[in-house]
């Protein structure tokens, strides 16, 4: 870890361009070197200070930007989600932790290992190595902090806690288990490869040994049918398409409305950030599989195969829940998942994955379901929808919410800065 420490020291100094030129011995001849070239120069000197996104890397998602990766990023096929508790006892140590993680995340998102290996065979390798030979696989890493972090007295963060960052209220039919609930920090690693996603979390946690402990984690997967060369909406384990009504992630104005915290919405350090809600939802596959197709479709309010709203033909046809048949009955049943969700008149950005984790001890049933993840500028958006679903949602018969978490995801990271800098700068 010595190298990382050097990086931090250099980062802290924020030295000027003049100092840099002096240091690299570039002198007048070096004036033409742009800011982006400096990282390379320092790299040649064995320092990785201005470690940057490597745009020449294959299947690469950018780390630096206005917003964190893994939110508006096109959904990947795999997730490894980890919820951590912090063991550090001071603000300074917590800040150090995020500084230390920054270059590691950049490197892994470039498809590189986390550090240059030792020559000495007596030391364990720096990088755990299982992602070697794989490219970046569109790895994205998203960091967030949970409400409990602000309640740790020694950290002195309580005055910075956004009012909307609090544990979700109890919803009807919740059966939350402590082993899948809460956490001080979350790391969401998504990639088009399960091993790359796992490797990212594993190495971040290992590098933070003694500073964090893993509270819970969940791996998940998604599959995308391709039609006419275009990725289609993935299906959940109930075979229904999930995520059809999402905001358009490439439209900044749509994302600003639904996902990104705007200046004045929250604590200043959250501007450009968002709130992540995670729910570990067990889907009772056994009961679902013996449910008649018509009943399954009435449960969701959509046709299973096409994903179209009931009574319509295509997935993206307008839902229009007020439609009635000739007898005056709603075509999309009032107790269906979609009907109730729509009535809530709130929007969220869903980015869910399926999971399958062996069997439930007590019943022998599959422990499989949905790692539901949504992003919204205020957790209230999710709460509103969930409350609307309430006891009425027909889907409740087939699912149980077993895990839950809400995390404030920092805004994007500027080059030369580090994860969560805005939070620490306000101190």
């Amino acid at each position: 870890m010595t190298e990382t420490n050097n990086d931090e020291k250099l980062l802290d100094k924020k030295f000027t361009r003049r100092q840099m030129l002096k240091m690299t011995g570039a002198g007048a001849a070096g004036i033409a070197i742009g800011a982006s070239g400096m990282g390379g120069i320092l790299k040649a000197f064995g320092k990785d200070v201005f470690l940057d996104d490597d745009h020449s890397a294959t299947n690469k998602v950018n780390f630096y930007g206005k917003h964190q990766s893994g939110i508006a990023t096109a959904v990947q096929t795999n997730i490894y989600f980890a919820s951590l508790n912090v063991l550090v006892k001071s603000k300074a140590e917590l800040q150090e932790l995020f500084k230390m993680w920054t270059p590691l995340a950049v490197r892994m998102m470039n498809g590189e290992t986390i550090g240059v290996e030792y020559k000495n065979g007596i030391l364990p390798p720096k990088d755990t190595g299982e992602a070697k030979g794989l490219d970046a696989r569109n790895l994205s890493i998203t960091f967030g902090v949970g409400p409990s972090l602000f309640e740790i007295k020694e950290l002195g963060l309580s005055s910075l806690k956004p009012a909307e960052l609090k544990d979700l209220p109890h919803f009807p039919k919740d059966q939350l288990e402590e082993a899948y609930t809460g956490g001080d920090i979350c790391i969401q690693a998504c990639a088009d490869d399960p091993q790359v996603a796992f490797h990212a979390v594993r190495n971040l946690i290992r590098a933070a040994s003694g500073k964090v402990s893993l509270k819970w984690s969940q791996a998940g997967f998604n599959s995308f049918p391709i039609e006419n060369g275009k990725k289609q909406t993935p299906r959940n384990l109930f075979a229904f398409k999930d995520g059809t009504e999402n905001p358009n992630s490439s439209s900044e104005s749509d994302m600003n409305k639904v996902v990104w915290v705007q200046s004045g919405d929250s604590k200043p350090w959250m501007t450009g950030g968002t709130y992540l809600v995670v729910r570990r939802i067990q889907l009772h596959l056994e009961t679902w599989d013996r449910t008649a197709l018509k009943e399954q479709e009435n449960t969701f309010g959509r046709h299973r195969d096409s994903g179209a709203p009931l009574g319509k033909k295509k997935e993206f046809d307008a839902m229009d829940i007020e439609r009635k048949d000739e007898n005056g009955n709603y075509i999309v049943p009032e107790t269906s998942h979609v009907f109730l969700a729509k009535k809530a008149k709130a929007r969220i950005m869903r980015r869910s994955y399926s999971y399958s984790s062996g069997i439930v001890d007590a019943t022998g049933a599959y422990d499989a379901g949905l790692v539901f993840i949504s992003f919204q500028k205020n957790p209230e958006q999710f709460i509103k929808i969930q409350n609307h679903l309430g006891r009425l949602d027909k889907l409740n018969e087939y699912i149980t919410h077993r895990g839950s978490g809400v995390f404030a995801c920092f805004p994007g990271i500027k080059k030369g800065s580090y994860i969560g800098e805005a939070l620490f700068n306000t101190l």
């Binding site: 030792y118 020559k119 000495n120």
Partner: protein
Amino acid sequence: MKVKSLAAILLAGSVVLTGCNSSDTAKKDASKTKTEDTTGAKSSAVLQKEVNAYKDFALEQLDKFTIETEKFVKAVKSGDVAKAKEIYPTARMYYERSEPIAERFGDLDPRIDARLADLKAEGQGEEDWTGYHKIEYGLWKENTTKGYEKVADKLLADAKELRARVETVEVTPDLMMTGAVDLLNEVSTSKITGEEEIFSHTDLYDFKANVEGAEKIFTTLEPQIKNKDPKLANDLTEKFKAVNDLLAKYETKDGGYVLYTKLTKEDTKALAEAVNHLGEPLSQMGIIME
């Protein structure tokens, strides 16, 4: 005992000592290796002071191990179940502290320290079982020493042979650093699960001794580590303290430890995490060779 494949044990046994069993020949071998060492003196100039200090520590531990084993064997042979049960956990601590060196002998380690489960994994049966854990079975499971007299004699002979042969071990910085991490790995994989002392449930004694063994290696190398990476040295001091403080919660009035069966799931999780948080920086000690 460290779980090794049968092939590895056989191989190690034959490499170290070609099929010799008595301590007499062992001593001969010991003196031979010693002369080779002084004439050879190649890479061992590195950290020679530390290496010697550590070897002295291991020898002293194994001296005491032999003495305590002798007392234990005496109790077993005189049919004193209570006395044998009393000596059992503390006598073993000397072995557990010096395990990086003691377990260098692939044939002796299983003879002294094998659990029945280890033998079964090797395709062997109860008839091949000897050593401390076999007597542990008699003491706690059958509450007797009867029928274990021969096992006790063999245990003492093996302990003495180990002490004699240990002189031949070439201690290197590599062995020390790998050994420290191995000691903690043992804690993580078998002590914290209660699998080491499955009948007596005295796992926390082994736990403590393994940690002490690793700590000894750290303190021996500490000045070197301080030179190279003072942050790492501080971190290690802190993490050893955290584990020791946690263990102290389970000390009994007589200076021993509560039985493993008294620990809750939360207790073992906290202990396991503290050990892992120590193991990671401990594995970085090799930085002094960089």
